[in-house]
Each structure stands twice: as structure tokens, then as C-alpha cells.
Subunit: 146 residues, 2 copies
């Protein structure tokens, strides 16, 4: 009963389909907390496979690593997310997706009105109102608007 519960970084990479370098990166960002062997090599819990799955899925839903870290940090120490945790984040995501869809619909309607007018004017064109930003919401590439 020596090594049964731990897996190497390579194993974790293979199980999740994530690159080894990415896993190291996640650790650096505080999303994973592997132990070390005497020889300084990382050893992960089997449960970390789920943890990484969680990261991947949350990313698909548009969360940044920063936000994912917060979600994971909110969980009781070392515990993996439970059904209730997952439902909580799911519902929050569902709401955010709804918002995105609404924004896109609004934009599409404006665009429809705009096809044919050829206005191209910042003063007149409804499409240009600084408030709603289509794609990226966080900083990302430094935002134009202060």
C-alpha cells in the first residue's frame, strides 16, 4: 500500500487531455495543490482528475481561471466539489449565458435596422453605444473605454 492513491503529473495529463505545462500553470495559479515526493516531483490525488475536469468545464462556460480559483477556494479544504456546489455554479452560469444571448439579440436587431441606412456615423448609428461590449468583458486586451 505505498503508491496507490497518487498519480504523477504525466498521468494526470493523460487522463484529462491537458498538457503537462498547463497543469503546472494551474498549480502556479493556485487551482491545484499537489504534494511532492522526496525527489521533488509532484504527486496528485486521484481526485485531482475531477478537479481538472471541473476547470475545463467551467472554462467552457466562459469563466476565467481567476474566477474558477475562487469557486474552488470556496470549497471546504481539499474537498472536491459536490452536487450542491456544482448546481450553484451551474445556475450562475446559466444566468450569465442568458445575459450574453440577450445582448446579442439586441445587437442583431440594431444591425437589422442599420442594414440599408449606410449611416456609418458615430453620432447617428445606434450600433455605436459604448455601454455594451460585445465580446470580452474583463480587461483582456486593455479596454478602450475607461
Amino acid at each position: 500500500m505505498t503508491q496507490a492513491n497518487f498519480i504523477s503529473i504525466g498521468q494526470l495529463a493523460k487522463r484529462t487531455g491537458v498538457a503537462v505545462s498547463a497543469i503546472r500553470f494551474y498549480e502556479e495559479k493556485g487551482l491545484l495543490h499537489p504534494l511532492r515526493t522526496q525527489g521533488n516531483q509532484r504527486k496528485f490525488l486521484r481526485g485531482d482528475i475531477r478537479r481538472v475536469s471541473f476547470i475545463l468545464i467551467a472554462q467552457k462556460l466562459g469563466l476565467g481561471l481567476r474566477e474558477i480559483e475562487e469557486q474552488l477556494a470556496a470549497l471546504p479544504e481539499g474537498r472536491n466539489p459536490t452536487l450542491a456546489d456544482w448546481q450553484k455554479i451551474s445556475r450562475r452560469m446559466r444566468h450569465e449565458i442568458d445575459e450574453k444571448i440577450k445582448l446579442l439579440n439586441r445587437t442583431r436587431n440594431q444591425l437589422d435596422q442599420c442594414i440599408g441606412c449606410g449611416c456609418l456615423s458615430l453620432q447617428k448609428c445606434q450600433l455605436y453605444n459604448k455601454d455594451d461590449r460585445l465580446g470580452l468583458k474583463g480587461p483582456g486586451p486593455r479596454a478602450v473605454l475607461d
Copy 2:
């Protein structure tokens, strides 16, 4: 009749609400082609105000500067976009927005099915299929998937 048709970079910045540094950046990327004074200062055509407006609006629709450059480059030399040009790009954008909305709706439906299952498994969770990428389509932050 000396200076009537030209404006300085500062004027252009004020008219469009874009930072001076951003305008220089657009020139560097080939979106603007100002002339120079004897003293090496940029002089823009009044029409460049519309050109910049075009850039801003196209950005709002999710186009990258690269793509906007192509659109502008396709126009007859030095000419500003006409009604027909604008309609062409508008219709293309309308199509892309439709696609985005479809993708989000699909994701939302999957999420609805997922709330309550608590699966969190890469094997089982419908949400995790590598094909559709929610947010960014181009490279941007280096994509996970090859």
C-alpha cells in the same frame, strides 16, 4: 485654400473619441494612411473620421483589426466605404451574430440538462465537447486544443 481639408491627429482623436496612441496604432496596422507635413506630422483627410467610425463599429460587431483592414483594403484606393460596401459587411456580420446566438443557445440547453446531474466527468458531461469554443475563436490566448 491651404489647410482646409486636413486635420491633425489630435483633431481626429477628439472627433472620434479615440486616443491619439490608438490612432497611431491603427496606422501602424495599415488601417489608416495619413500624409505628412514638411515637419513630419501626420495630416489626415476629413474622411478619415468616417473611416475611424467604421473601425469602431466593426469592432463592436466582433471583427478584429486584421479583418477590418481587409474590408477597408478591398475598397477602391483611398475611397471611403459606400452604402453598398456597408451593406455587404453588415449582412456578413448579421450571419456571424446568428451563429454565436445558436452556439449559446445550444450551450444553455446542455447546461440545463446538466444542472442536477452533478456529473463533472469529462467522459459523461455533454458540456465538454472540444468542438465548439465559447468565447474567442481566433488564437488570442493560445488555444488549448491543437
